[in-house]
């Protein structure tokens, strides 16, 4: 590995340019969020933070069109529920595919990989009809239920379990009379923990971000996810941009927080998945 090409000043220059482009829109979002509403009409556009953030936050949470607090709470409920479920079911299925022998396992795994390629977003119309039938429209279960499992999660856990879970340990546990359920809990879960964390983070971020399906099925303005609150703010008749940007900044904050704390693991997960997929 020591034979990597040396980085020239030009390399750093290009990387700095890429970095500025990457960060600037996010930075500027916080700048506008901290200014008064006339910041939008100024040329040159302001690029340094102001001192109006507190007032903007107060107006945002007091906005009677956006239901921003409800949106935040709903998004937290949805994202956390989905994350727990995806990690649990993916680790169970990944363990079964990697370490247990059963009839049809190869074919079933192929089905799971194929589901990753299917644009399921195109099924929203029958999904909407289904939710109407079960009277779940405008309610959070309509958003949660379809997201409870992902083919990506199962595949990722299966890849990781194949190398991280010791077959000898499983066999030893069997000899000691452990059933598969106890093996899962006592042997597999501890070994899968790092991959489960990455899967959890990725799932949380995807779910927090989800827009199309919640937009279709949650039509009650008083019961939005945070992304729908943003839509309501952005589509409002009067456009108070510093308030809208305060909303976008707050909606982005949990994601940035997760990234700052666990960025290294997330990058590792993306890059490992790339080599294996």
């Amino acid at each position: 590995m020591s034979k990597l090409w040396r980085a020239s000043p030009l390399t750093y220059g290009a990387l700095i340019a890429a970095g500025v482009l990457s960060i600037f829109p996010i930075y500027w979002m916080f700048v506008v969020a901290s200014r008064s509403s006339d910041a939008m009409g100024q040329l040159p556009p302001p690029v340094t933070p102001g001192d109006n953030l507190g007032a903007n936050i107060a107006r945002l949470f007091g906005n009677t069109d956006a239901y921003f607090l409800a949106g935040l709470i709903n998004s937290a409920i949805v994202a956390i529920t989905v994350t727990v479920s995806v990690v649990l079911f993916s680790s169970l299925a990944g363990f079964a595919f990697a370490k247990l022998r059963f009839r049809g396992s190869n074919a079933l795994l192929m089905v799971i990989i194929a589901t990753m390629m299917v644009p399921t977003q195109l099924g929203v119309i029958p999904l909407y009809m289904l939710m109407t039938k079960f009277n779940l429209n405008d309610r959070l279960p309509a958003v949660i239920l379809p997201a409870l499992v992902t083919g990506f999660g199962v595949f990722m856990m299966r890849q990781y379990a194949g190398q991280a879970v010791s077959t000898e340990l499983i066999e030893a546990a069997r000899v000691d009379g452990c059933g598969t359920a106890r093996i899962y809990w006592n042997v597999v879960v501890p070994a899968l923990r790092p991959a489960a964390a990455v899967l959890g983070l990725l799932t949380f971020m995807t779910t927090w971000n989800d827009f199309l399906w919640p937009y279709a099925v949650l039509n009650d303005p008083e019961n939005p996810t945070v992304q729908l609150s943003l839509r309501a703010l952005s589509d409002g008749y009067y456009q108070d941009m510093s308030q809208v940007f305060t909303g976008t900044a707050i909606a982005t904050l949990p994601l940035l927080l997760v990234f700052v704390l666990f960025g290294r693991q997330i990058i590792g997960g993306i890059m490992e998945g790339a080599v294996k997929a």
């Binding site: 029958p126 827009f211 290294r264 997929a277």
Partner: protein, 335 residues
């Protein structure tokens, strides 16, 4: 499938006869059937909320089916016939393909270049990787709103910068092609760094001695990049192209929130940047709730995704169909 569990029940060890035969039978049943229990949640949930809706979309598309759905009438392929004669539909097809082309090609090239930069001896390695990935972890809706302002006509920063260097401002929202460019910029901003990391991972799997051999043969760095790196990356590039195709042709959140107000679902007053998914949404949900027509749009979009993905793969297979040693090795690793 390397090591496998022995499915036989464990040979009862020293405990002798103290354990009744029932336990043995139970553990045999456990070993044989419990795997199905563990994979069942995925298949049950996917069948109900993933596979069935997609298939049923086709059935709905053959009907005149409205919100109440009390009495859907079977009308055969009428929805499709109408759709093929629908100017707004074709308009959105062109928009979707246009945005897809002008976003994907630069995005993958930039990602390759960025990965090549990151694949060097760098200070703050993790820091650079995190920096290029940040756009990918932001809220799509939030970013779409921010870009909508950056590309504003009067006070947008992009037009201000254009003005600084002496160019005329551009009508980013009401000019069709300009709106494609703005939306593509948004998509690329989000995905270039992500794809760069995937390419970087694949680059790191290329053995160093291949570059040494190329250098001995007199290939300079640029030549090494195009003759060694890119051909060896081909499986990864195909993977990224397929993923970008599936995602790019279903583009919705970015163009929807780039615009605001009552015309937003149309992508502007004259449908300047309405994508196919937006057109499906406009027909299928509030206020029209024309499920049958919307479903027909969904199926044609599905067909379009399949066709474009196939064309892309063919093109990339063609490009530099020559040297590609060791590709099989990486594929083999995925089993």
């Amino acid at each position: 499938m390397a090591l496998q569990l022995d499915a036989r029940p464990p040979a009862t060890p020293a405990s002798g006869r103290s354990r009744p035969a029932r336990t043995g039978r139970l553990s045999r049943i456990d070993a044989k059937y419990s795997p199905y229990l563990y994979i069942a949640p995925f298949f049950v949930v996917f069948a109900i909320f993933g596979a069935w809706p997609l298939a049923y979309t086709f059935w709905v598309s053959l009907h005149d089916w409205d919100l109440l759905g009390s009495n859907p009438t079977f009308i055969g392929t009428d929805n499709y016939t109408r759709l093929l004669a629908d100017g707004d539909f074709w308009h959105s097809v062109v928009n979707t393909l246009g945005i897809f082309v002008i976003s994907t090609a630069p995005q993958l090239l930039l990602a390759l270049w960025l990965a090549n930069l990151l694949n060097r001896q760098l200070r703050f390695r993790t820091g650079w990787r995190m920096t290029v990935l940040i756009p990918n972890v932001t809220s799509t809706a939030a970013v779409a709103i921010v870009f909508g302002v950056l590309f504003g006509r009067e006070f947008g920063m992009v037009n201000w910068l254009l003005d600084l260097i002496g160019l005329d401002g551009i009508e980013w929202k009401s000019d069709r092609f300009a709106s494609w460019v703005a939306i593509s910029a948004m998509v690329d901003w989000r995905w270039t760094g992500y794809n760069a990391l995937i390419f970087l991972a694949a680059m790191q799997a290329i053995p160093r001695d291949m570059y040494e051999a190329a250098a001995i043969d007199g290939a300079n760095r640029a030549r090494q990049f195009w003759s060694v790196t890119v051909p060896l990356l081909k499986p990864t590039i195909i993977f990224c192209v397929i993923i970008s195709t599936i995602g790019g042709l279903q583009l919705f959140t970015e163009p929807r929130l780039f615009h605001s107000g009552t015309n937003a679902i149309r992508g502007g007053p004259l449908r300047e940047s309405q994508t196919l998914t937006m057109y499906m949404f406009e027909n299928a949900f509030a206020p029209y709730y024309n499920f049958g027509y919307g479903s027909a749009v969904a199926w044609l979009l599905f067909a379009l995704i399949a066709i474009v993905a196939a064309i892309n793969v063919l093109i990339i297979r063609r490009l530099g169909a020559g040297a590609r040693p060791r590709v099989g090795q990486r594929k083999g690793a995925a089993r």
